[in-house]
């Protein structure tokens, strides 16, 4: 768990708004380097967001999601101090996560 995902979770009128910024090259596999060699695809395939251990969103991504991806979502409930965790897995099996407490 490298923990490089930046996560914010803010409670407003009974709804928790989550914003996550991940660090990832999101390489499509269709670009070439200066020598004309294809740069291998390297992108996040699975994302999961949990609130106190319960999944509030999961996602499958393709290589068309932008570099250093952003994800925004909202869920009902949540209380100040509750834990929100964002995790991803990429096509090379690498993972990262980020944890925050609802404010």
């Amino acid at each position: 768990m490298a923990g490089k995902i930046r996560v914010r979770a803010q409670l407003k009128d009974g709804v928790t708004e989550v914003k996550a910024l991940m660090r990832h090259p999101m390489e499509t596999g269709q670009r070439k380097n200066a020598n004309g060699e294809a740069i291998p695809a390297h992108f996040i395939t699975d994302v999961k967001v949990t609130h106190n251990g319960k999944v509030v969103m999961s996602a499958y991504w393709g290589a068309a999601v932008s570099q250093n991806p952003f994800l925004g979502l909202s869920f009902e409930g949540g209380a100040a101090g509750d834990e929100v965790v964002v995790e991803w897995v990429d096509n090379k099996g690498e993972t990262d996560s980020g944890t925050t407490k609802i404010r």
Partner: protein, 156 residues
Amino acid sequence: MKNALSEQGFSRRGFLRAGAAFAAVAALPTKVWAAMARPEAVFKAEGMEGTFAAMGGEPADSADIVLESPDIAENGAVVPVGVISNIPNTTRIMVMVEKNPNPLSAVFMIPEGTKPEVQTRVKVAQTGMIYGVVEADGKFYKIAKETKVTLGGCGG
């Protein structure tokens, strides 16, 4: 925790029909809570027609989906897209980009209690339509809006 993704995976008939190739991919050993139910055939489909075919048919147009996307994107590499569904029982939201090599960019699973809305950023290769696709009660719906791209998002 381990199977959190697969629990609400792609069980729709259209997706299943779409792929022996997908089944082969799903059979590969994957790490952590990855990819059991990833709709690989839809991700790999080319063109909107091919993508809809892989889903089992073209979604119905719907005015109950709000697609937040720019009219003009100066940088196609980072185009903010938001999809809000006002269709009851929305379980999945998808973002598709017409002119990309593979239109399907992302699939978001919306469990009960989560608002049927999502924001992200995608690459857009060239001027064309961006689609917000919603699944509710097992049916697909769509809305589309054009984004003009000044600088493409998939070049070198």
